[in-house]
């Protein structure tokens, strides 16, 4: 599987994503600079990494969502390319309109960083199939704007369609219905606030993240 990571100015988890993808796929991911206009055609999986793209100015993810490479990302995602956005990447994907809803400031108005237990709500998605029925995972969270919001109709639809992939086991940021990660309608685009790429090594304190990447790899084969 060919993977790629997009770097915006002040993406800061691009190296973390690179390292995790390299470890799981055994191949070096392609690093794509935000000013490039095209995702290489042979890429199967794109990660939009965490960080503070454009310093979170305007709104988290808002400026990155209008960068040249995201235009192509929107197009290719529409044609079925697998995309995952972690943390700031989730914010970029909502701002780009690839995922519904928005991420507001945490309800306690503070940055929160801790290992967080999540429930896998949909274990059959392209991003969770390798968990094989496992109900809970622990991934680190580290964000200031992770308070997921969407109107009731959207939330009902997300839940009904199995688009809610992860929920927090305790509400850490005010997110509607404890939502931590969702996919689009088609199921090929994932956005989530927690960091599975920082849970792929026993020295990270846990390896629950590996199977998320493994699921994508399995689906591509």
């Amino acid at each position: 599987m060919r993977t790629a990571v997009i770097s915006f100015p002040a993406s800061n988890c691009d190296r973390d994503a690179y390292t995790a993808l390299h470890q799981v796929t055994g191949q070096e991911p392609v690093m794509i600079w935000h000013r490039e206009t095209e995702i290489p055609a042979n890429v199967d999986f794109v990660v939009v990494p965490g960080g503070f793209s454009y310093g979170d100015y305007l709104r988290s993810g808002a400026i990155a969502a209008r960068s040249p490479i995201v235009r192509d990302l929107i197009q290719k995602a529409g044609k079925g390319l697998t995309v995952a956005g972690f943390c700031n990447g989730f914010q970029v994907l909502t701002e780009a309109g690839l995922l519904p809803g928005a991420l507001m400031r945490n309800d306690k108005l503070k940055f929160v960083c801790k290992p967080q237990s999540l429930s896998i709500v949909n274990g059959k998605s392209r991003f969770t199939s390798a968990y094989n029925g496992q109900k809970n995972v622990v991934y680190p969270v580290a964000h200031h704007d992770g308070n997921y919001f969407a109107d009731k109709k959207t939330l009902d639809k997300l839940e009904k369609n199995g688009q809610v992939i992860f929920k927090y086991d305790e509400n850490i940021n005010g997110s509607a219905r404890n939502i931590a990660g969702i996919t689009n309608d088609a199921g090929n685009v994932l956005g989530m606030m927690p960091h599975p790429e920082r849970a792929v090594d026993p020295l990270h304190g846990g390896t629950d993240g590996i199977k998320l990447f493994q699921s994508v790899l399995d689906a591509a084969l």
Binding site: C13, G55, D56, Y57, F111, V112, K114, A142, L203
Partner: protein, 743 residues
Amino acid sequence: MSKKIKITPEIVKEHGLSEEEYQIILDRLGREPNINELGIFSVMWSEHCSYKSSRRHLGKFLTKGKRVIQGPGENAGVIDIGDNDAIIFKMESHNHPSYIEPYQGAATGVGGIMRDVFTMGARPIANMNALRFGEISHPKTKSLLSGVVAGIGGYGNCVGVPTVGGETNFHKGYNGNILVNAMCVGLAHQDKVFYSAAKGVGNPIFYVGSKTGRDGIHGATMASAEFDDDSEEKRPTVQVGDPFTEKLLIEACLELMATDAIIAIQDMGAAGLTSSSIEMADKGGVGIKMNLDKVPQRETNMTPYEMMLSESQERMLMVLVPGKEHLALEIFQKWELDVAEVGVTTDTGRLVLTHKRKTVCDIPIAPLADDAPNLDRPHTKTPERPVLSADEARAPDNYNDALNTLITCPDMASKRWIWEQYDRHVMADTVDSSQSGGDAAIVRIHGSNKAVAITTDCTPRYCYADPYEGGKQVVAETWRNLTCTGATPIAITDCLNFGNPERPDIMGQFVGCVEGMNEACRAFDYPVVSGNVSLYNETNGVAIPPTPAVGGVGLIDDLDVFTTITGAQEGDTLVLIGETQGWLGSSLYGREILGHERADDAPVYAPPPVDLAVEKTNGDYVRSLIKNRRVKAVHDLSDGGLAMSAAEMCFAAGIGAELKAAPSGVTLQGWLFGEDQARYLLAVDENSVNPVVSTAQAKGIPAQIVGKVGGAQLKAAGAFDVNLSDLKSANERVLPDLMKSKA
């Protein structure tokens, strides 16, 4: 314009220059300086930039060692950790700005220390801090704490460097002067370390980073004066940081450093363009000519004086190899940063500045550094303190209550409220951080199986009572903390925070602490490679307790073998290494239970003495046990003694423990709460108990079985018996409750 300002004695005084200092300027110039020149001399000779009160004492420090590549005198210290890897680190204060504007003061403190590290070619891999606030009931403490923590997090999180550890104390001695000391650790290749000496004539000087504005003018001078009731008026001199620009600057500088375009590079920190250009020229033995019209400016009509003294953040100055200018232009434009050729190195030995086609400054560079005042301030030794007698070191009325009081005092309280606001995992190499409550953070060297252990420490209580013993203890505690992970301690950085050095008693504290620290550095072969001095931490004549914070760095050469505070299991035996006499003078128990600091004129008792030879023997032994995989968890004994150390180890494991009764000759309170030095608590499994204890005894190292891990209670025979989870929730509640309270 500048030329029209007449230099009066009042203006000289406003610039913090003494009459003698001004006379030296007149002698060196052979004429009266203009306002720009006066401003430049003033900041270069400020306490902050010239270290005029401290320089002769800092010279005594051990600064060399077999792993030292660069000691003090550059932007940061550089040590060799093998495999062509170098660790570059430094700690620095941002005390005065953080008191006036806590968010920006702390944020720019973090930004500044990271620039010191990446200026030298290192990618920052970890941030640490050492924070001191006033007493928790003081009306300003809450807002200062929340502002400082948000500022540290706001900057470090955005730049994407994990904040992995630190320490936070609360004491009335900091009511009027908080301390914000930030440390950064970076990783470089040994053959790609960059220095600030601007060697060679005719080389282009480039300015990169943010534009210059009017913020922070005379910040260095502010940091060289006491506060009074009007200090709030100094708010405009606090700089404003932009971590987004810093992140771009890191990436752009590292990208340019990978080429061969840079001769010298220096960040613009205190005293901005002035100190960066003068330091580079002075070290390189050259002159500098700059055209200030070329300096990227954020505001209109800036004067030369403002441009030279501005402390706008996220700026760098560099000297490039002629012909390589295009590389800098391309890379900085890619990262959307300002870049401008502002000058050239010359053979005149002078700093010449032009502005609007006029020469606005023309002064020799050598006197700015060579003739900087180097004062021998009078200092008086801190009086010797009595040893707390056995009678006065009374037992608590109730041991359960005493345990609870200690574990919930602000200094011992869980700092989760603080560190959950810091991204501790970004870069995905954090192995251990504040989260575990352990002795030192552990950060892996990316792509390897090595790691650095990092700690920050200081016990101002001891330094106040006895600066010399306290100074020794600070260094010893960092060495002990690193040892607890199995790391080999390598070197330290320091941040020496004191009151007004013009007072002989304060200067005596400074000299005493430095001498004690140096003694310990030499005993451990543990050199000082960088540091910073912050004086005048005084408000209305009340000085802070002497606070020489130390950041220690050690190397774990194999991540298959290390320990943390976590890992004790049901049934493990607790072994105490080191001798316990039950020292309670200047202890946490003395302060919190015996009320030793309650009255202003309360007697001060001698702190625990530090036997450096014993420290070394005990520490080396513990490290060997870790290397031989004989221990499951390790924690040093410090504030609150055995009881606190055991409680923290139990918190980390989520299991209780039972401690044995005091050995004969030691009081129960001294046994549980005494702060004798050179001690470690180990959790050891059954099979290792005998080898651990008997080998120690064969080497003459005190080692005794002091209890067992297990159950839901934390017990000590004849003393306390409390539910561990109740104790932990009490410990966890302190800061959240404080921050929620309305007062």
